[in-house]
């Protein structure tokens, strides 16, 4: 236990925690996306409704929910704490600093992109998760809730922007985690970049296709 606390207190340890928790979170994204693809079945949402109704009845899912929530909080708190420490370490700002010439914008704006994704997530949970758990009536259809919400241009555009920012966050986050784990060796750097495309490009596009689908009223 003491070794673990010591590890967390070190700079490298904290970064490892941010990376590891981030990995759990993106692993969930894959499962979430595949489940949601049922929205595209041309059965008027019947399959999606069954899926949405079954989910909370599975004990493992309830456990994963709680674990995921804790991991998410841990990810945010640790990342915000490192940001604070980094701000202190810098001290005064330069009169002129051409950061754009030496590093990528995505790598310098992780706190900002992460914060916006977080705000989006609170809204997302309120709109779907909370409604399905606590406001579901007799003839409740999750498909209908999703369709009605995403048919609203305000929300669908917001969802698309949020997915863009998620991609932005993961563009840096994915490969950065490998660097922190000590696995981003020269040999694997390009492989990591390529696998990263799945997470920062394909998965956000997959999610964004849902608001686009309902907005265009297919």
């Amino acid at each position: 236990m003491r070794a673990l606390i010591e590890f967390y207190n070190s700079s490298v340890g904290k970064k490892l925690i941010v990376g590891l928790t981030g990995f759990f979170l993106i692993a969930y994204l894959i499962i979430h996306l595949f489940g949601n693809l049922l929205l595209f079945r041309s059965d008027g949402g019947a399959a999606f409704d069954i899926y949405a109704e079954l989910l909370p009845q599975v004990v493992v899912i309830r456990i994963i929910e709680v674990v995921l929530f804790l991991i998410f909080i841990f990810h945010i708190i640790t990342a915000a704490y490192t940001w604070l420490l980094n701000k202190q370490a810098r001290g005064s700002a330069y009169e002129l600093q051409k950061k754009g010439e030496t590093s990528a914008l995505t790598s310098r704006t992780m706190l900002l992109s992460g914060s916006i994704v977080y705000i989006f997530l609170v809204l997302h949970m309120r709109q779907f998760w909370y409604v399905s758990r606590y406001e579901a009536g007799e003839h409740f259809s999750m498909y209908e809730v999703v369709r009605a919400t995403l048919a609203e241009p305000v929300y669908s555009i917001l969802y698309i922007i949020a997915m863009f920012l998620l991609g932005f966050h993961l563009k840096h986050g994915f490969q950065s985690a490998f660097q922190t784990f000590g696995l981003r060796d020269k040999k694997y750097a390009s492989l990591i970049e390529w696998v990263g495309v799945i997470f920062w490009l394909l998965i956000p596009i997959g999610f964004a296709s849902m608001p686009i689908y309902f907005l265009l009223n297919f």
């Binding site: 070794a3 490892l16 980094n86 202190q88 810098r90 700002a93 009169e95 002129l96 790598s107 660097q179």
Partner: protein, 246 residues
């Protein structure tokens, strides 16, 4: 060539600094940045004014003494050069050049453009060495080192400790500097017996000295005059995780 220089002036560690403007004329494009500053200082000395303090020693890019934040970049706009190797031809004639000291809590300004980099010394003192008795020069093949390892260790050993990595990092992190030493010694058989203790002590000291954490922006690699790769940071992370948890 003519330039307008905006240079940070600060009397000592405790006083508040400010920018001063100097107009310099008749600068040869082949002059190094430090030679240009020498010219400014000669003029200041003639007028009995306080000359601009800056660190320098070998003036051939190997000692790591010089290091200025020039026009928003550590060691100026060129890649893979120290301030002393930077030539004035890379600047626009008649333009303004902003010159600042390294900015970092762990590198306090001593005077003008000179910062206190002894925090680096303390990181090295914490474990950046081999304490086993290596004796006199051994037989060439008595301690086999694979060619690739020797090359990579040599690349890491190229670090001159100038501090550009810290200066360029938005978090003022010393990870590239520290990892270069950890990586160099981890790659060689001589460094093996103390590898666990070394990495833990060096990370601990780096954190205590007030350097920031690594965000993997890789700005350090871009600004390093010796082009030291961030793959050494990955190796150091690996060493640290292994030493702490396994």
């Amino acid at each position: 060539m003519n330039f307008k220089l905006k240079i940070w002036r600060q009397y000592d560690r405790n006083s508040k600094g400010k920018f001063a403007v100097y107009n310099v004329t008749d600068i040869s494009p082949d002059m190094s940045f430090l030679e240009m500053l020498d010219a400014v200082n000669r003029n200041l000395a003639k007028k009995s004014e306080d000359v601009i303090a800056f660190d320098h020693d070998c003036r051939e890019g190997i000692c790591g003494s010089c290091g200025l934040y020039i026009d928003g970049r550590a060691h100026g706009p060129q890649r893979g050069v120290t301030t002393c190797e930077l030539r004035m031809r890379h600047f626009k004639d008649g333009g303004t050049i902003i010159v600042e000291p390294w900015h970092s809590k762990a590198f306090p300004v001593i005077k003008d453009l000179v910062v206190d980099r002894t925090a680096f010394e303390r990181i090295i003192q914490a474990g950046g060495y081999i304490s086993v008795d290596t004796g006199s020069a051994p037989e060439a093949s008595s301690l086999p080192v694979p060619k690739a390892n020797a090359e990579e260790a040599m690349d890491a050993a190229a670090c001159i400790g100038c501090g550009a990595c810290v200066a360029a990092c938005k978090n003022s992190s010393a990870m590239l500097f520290m990892s270069a030493k950890v990586s160099q010694l981890a790659l060689l058989p001589q460094g093996d017996p103390e590898r666990k203790r070394r990495v833990q002590k060096m990370v601990e000291t780096m954190d205590r000295e007030g350097f920031g954490l690594c965000s993997n922006t890789y700005a350090c690699e871009q600004e390093c005059p010796k082009k030291i790769s961030v793959s050494h940071i990955a190796r150091m992370n690996r060493e640290f995780i292994r030493a702490k948890l396994f």
